[in-house]
Every structure is written in structure tokens, then in C-alpha cells.
Symmetry: C3
Subunit: 142 residues, 3 copies
């Protein structure tokens, strides 16, 4: 197994200003292609106005609930200091709370997620093209 196989980049085109986009199947495919049986996986988005959420991905309405609640307390339009430079302070604050990185366990060649868990990109300042790095680490078995 060569190293370059273990780091992949997902590229996602977001469509709205704020959006939660499920990437579970894409991450599962990368884990599957790696053929790694036991280990773990670092999901990292290199953006400061987006984040990675692991939560339910079945009911799309829940995604709107999460975005609405964040917007209620951290609205797009407010007198932020950073907005003198760029009109997206709200997105940076939301991304700081959600965080750009999550780690998931791999067992028997599969992501060890719960039945109702999915992995999603949280876009807070779209639409944009976003990258997500998927780093897969094989556990050493002695």
C-alpha cells in the first residue's frame, strides 16, 4: 500500500450560501478502495468558512434545523468587525464551532458509523468549490 493511496481529495460544488451536504457514500467509497481493514480516517476540510459534521443524514429537514439555529444566533448580517474586510464573519464563527475536522474508526474494512450517522460538509459561505481531504490510516497489527 503506497502512501499516495491513503490521502484522497473530495471536491464538492456547493449550490447555496448555507448548506449541509452529505458526503457519507463518497467517504465510504474511498475507505473501500483503500482495502484497509482496521484503522481510522481523518476527514479535514481546508476552508475557514466550512466545517465537517457527523450527524443524521436521513431527514434533510434536520439539516435546515441545524442551519436555522446557527443563523438565529450568528446571523449573516450583523455588525461584525471582520466584515470591513470580508462579508463572511458569520461563516467563520459557525465554522469555528462546528470545526473543520473529524476522525472516524474503520473496522472490518468499513466506516464504523451508527445507523443514523452520516458525514457532511457544512457550507456557510457558498456557493463555492470545496475540498475535503480524506486521510486513511492503517492500523499496524503486530
Amino acid at each position: 500500500m503506497l502512501s499516495f493511496k491513503m490521502l484522497r481529495t473530495l471536491t464538492i460544488k456547493t449550490n447555496k450560501k448555507q448548506e449541509i451536504i452529505d458526503i457519507t457514500e463518497k467517504v465510504k467509497s474511498i475507505v473501500s478502495e483503500s482495502r484497509i481493514k482496521e484503522g481510522f480516517c481523518i476527514i479535514f476540510t481546508p476552508h475557514s468558512t466550512a466545517g465537517i459534521i457527523i450527524n443524521e443524514n436521513y431527514d434533510k429537514n434536520l439539516c435546515y434545523d441545524i442551519l436555522d439555529k446557527l443563523e438565529e444566533f450568528i446571523p449573516v448580517y450583523e455588525n461584525y468587525r471582520h466584515n470591513k474586510i470580508d462579508n463572511n464573519a458569520h461563516a467563520h464563527i459557525k465554522a469555528s464551532l462546528i470545526g473543520p475536522t473529524k476522525t472516524a474508526i474503520i473496522k472490518n474494512g468499513q466506516l464504523l458509523l451508527g445507523t443514523w450517522q452520516g458525514i457532511a460538509l457544512a457550507e456557510f459561505d457558498g456557493p463555492r468549490v470545496r475540498n475535503i481531504f480524506i486521510k486513511i490510516i492503517k492500523e499496524k497489527i503486530e
Copy 2:
């Protein structure tokens, strides 16, 4: 050291609707049993209405403060869209903010936590039986 020794499941029965339950000693025992000296530990709960917190675990009142503050802004009863399916949108939102996974360092065979740091399961939609996966990774020493 075989792989199956490195992934353990903690099963916790929660007692309340919302509750922060200390699991530090249980995680420490698993680290100790693994006999791994240097490495790290992924703590992951496969639920979308619970999370993992690393913070003070000495004063139980602090746990109530954290839950009260989350409840103040993300109350159980509100007009969430997801509630047409399931009455727990608040719990999903709280869990998205806290996150289902944290990573801790192992040094000299012990979890490298601060004096006032503990690991806890945050239950937002109990009472339920919850699982927490503890994946211990041994550092390769060359």
C-alpha cells in the same frame, strides 16, 4: 497485540433525558489493559443525539451549567422541521455542536489529560443505552 484488543465498546445506560456522564475511569481502564505505552485513543459514539465532551468532571454542577446553557438556546420544545418525524431535533443540533468524537494522547501508558480534564458522554435524548467505541492506536517506534 492483536487488532481486536485495540477496539473496545463501552456500553452506558443513561438515566435522564439530558445528562453528562463521566467515563474517564472506564477509558483509563481500557488504555491500561491495552498495555500500550505511546500512542493515542479515539473516543467515538455512534449516535446522532449524543456527543463526547472533554472538560472538567469534578464539579457536577458544571455539567448542569453546560446542559442549561445549551437548552437555553436550543430548547427541547420549539418548532423544528425535523420534529414532524421525531421529537428530538434539539438533541441532533446539540450533538452536532459537541461532536461525536474526540482524540486523546497516550503517554507512558496513560491518557495525557489535564488535572481537571475528564471524558464524558453527553446524552441529549435519553434515557437510552449508548455505545462508545474506544480505539487505541499504538505508535510505531523506529
Copy 3:
């Protein structure tokens, strides 16, 4: 590569009660000194009133925006239960939301951060002397 080279402690003296302090260059130096080409890095602060943020570090005003927004909802002075013991419940709650640990990928000997991403210590109960553990893990290449 010996194990002791792979765990370093950054010690940061904070100057204010609440402050976001960029540590990106310090973490990059540790990664560079490790000479590890492919792997990842766990950034962990062993305090329960501080956290680790990965977000923009170019515009200092954004740091004030993040702190102001957290303070708006989790003010220093409020009737917290924990404050009977210690006057810093607000700091524990903020730290629980931000989290004490983040994981970053190392590629070609460098931290794989986005152009606008930096790593910062979030101090919520300073001024204090704070530690940040930097654990660097080398990927095994087969």
C-alpha cells in the same frame, strides 16, 4: 525516530482574560523538526477553560468577533451553579463547545492547512500559562 521526539509541549503565556492566540508557526516548526513526511498531528490542550480552534488567523478582528459572539450567549457574569466553586463556568462552557483537541494532516513534510487556515489557542479564563501538546504520528508506508 524515537518516541520522545514525537511529542512536544508548547507553552504559551496568555495576556488577557479571553483571547485567541495564533500558534500556527510554532506547530509548523515542530512538524518540520520531526522530519516526518507523511502522517498527522494531534493538537491537544490539557485545560478545561481553553480550546483549540482551526480557522482564519490573518484578520485579528475575526478573533474578537468569535470571542464577542461566544460572550454574547455565554457571558462571564451570570448565575451559573459552578460559580459557587470557581468564577469561570462561562469558560468551561465555551471550552466544551470549541473542544480541546484537533487533528491535522501532514503531507510532504508540511501541515496540510488551507490558505486561510491557522491553528489557535482559545483562552477563556486567562491570563495564564497554558500548555499545548503536539503529538506527531508518522504514517507507516508499506
